[in-house]
Symmetry: C2
Subunit: 185 residues, 2 copies
């Protein structure tokens, strides 16, 4: 079977929001990164809310041979019970992260930017709505921007081209099953 | 910051179903494949309903250096307007595909199996419900099984550990924007 490659007559960057409470938001962004690399694109991922817990995509991405740059920021725990850090510290981290996103986006080096868990960061007041609007305003026309995380802001969803909401129908951990490598982290 | 690696006290394979009409089902499965590779796991992906249209993950996966084996089956068009193939031909393809899934699953070579768009294949009567139950029955205890596609069968969701449903809030193509490489394929 001969494989056909679809070529859009007009290339353009898209803004994609992936939100909701179910499993698959960051995961889906990682899948788009993998797909983009297949097209020879350069990808930058900035993770906002990660803490110090290892997750498999960090090493998976290294295998993609320099096509994907990933930066992890945040201290974890924000908005979670047992949070040992003051809000100001979380906010400082997120402010550094969003400054980095602007820099990477405007560097001209990347075709696809994943801003992982920025929706939660906005919801938790670690970044401001105006800063996320700014991100969309300053986006180069051919750059794809993927914004993930729970509680996406309605104004940001309004401005996006594609929005998916992932609903949790069930999750293993609610049945007392521990998180498993390869699936949950 | 020191990175901690969570180790479950009991390792077990999970059955994950990703369904719904929104963007991100196959994409999310690709993200789990990438994550699993980061953990040093071996992944097998069998795509049921793909046709002859190129998609970026095919080349993305090649960059992961032999950790992921991907087989594409199907002729496309099934259940879609303008379908030029008889149902019997689609079913024959899907039957070959499910036979391959059993073989790969029982080979002991893979930690994670993605059975991409098998939910639609079942919904379109290309495979039988009993065959999907069989897949779950025969699954080795440590093997993860990810079943993607629209219209997942309630009995299969009942048996899964984790189920996510992706809802389309909006999609670029509904606003007349063409599919874009890296995002849509």
């Amino acid at each position: 079977m001969e494989i056909k490659k679809y070529e859009p007559t007009e290339k353009r960057g898209l803004v994609v929001v992936i939100t909701g409470y179910g499993k698959g938001k960051t995961t889906s962004a990682m899948g788009m990164a993998l797909r983009a690399v297949g097209h020879g694109m350069k990808v930058c991922i900035i993770q906002f809310m990660k803490g110090d817990l290892y997750t498999g995509e960090w090493d998976g991405i290294k295998k993609l041979g320099g096509c994907v740059e990933l930066t992890t920021t945040g201290k974890g725990f924000c908005g979670i019970e047992g949070n040992p850090y003051p809000q100001a510290e979380h906010r400082r981290n997120a402010q550094d992260a969003i400054a980095l996103v602007y820099t990477k986006m405007e560097s001209g080096q990347f075709d696809l930017l994943v801003v992982d868990e920025i929706n939660n960061a906005l919801d938790l007041n670690l970044v401001d709505l105006s800063q996320v609007h700014d991100l969309l305003d300053r986006r180069p026309a051919l750059t794809h921007l993927i914004l993930t995380g729970r509680n996406a802001h309605p104004e940001i969803m309004d401005r996006a081209d594609t929005v998916s909401a992932i609903r949790e129908i069930k999750h293993a951990y609610r049945q007392g099953i521990e998180a498993q490598p390869g699936i949950d982290f």
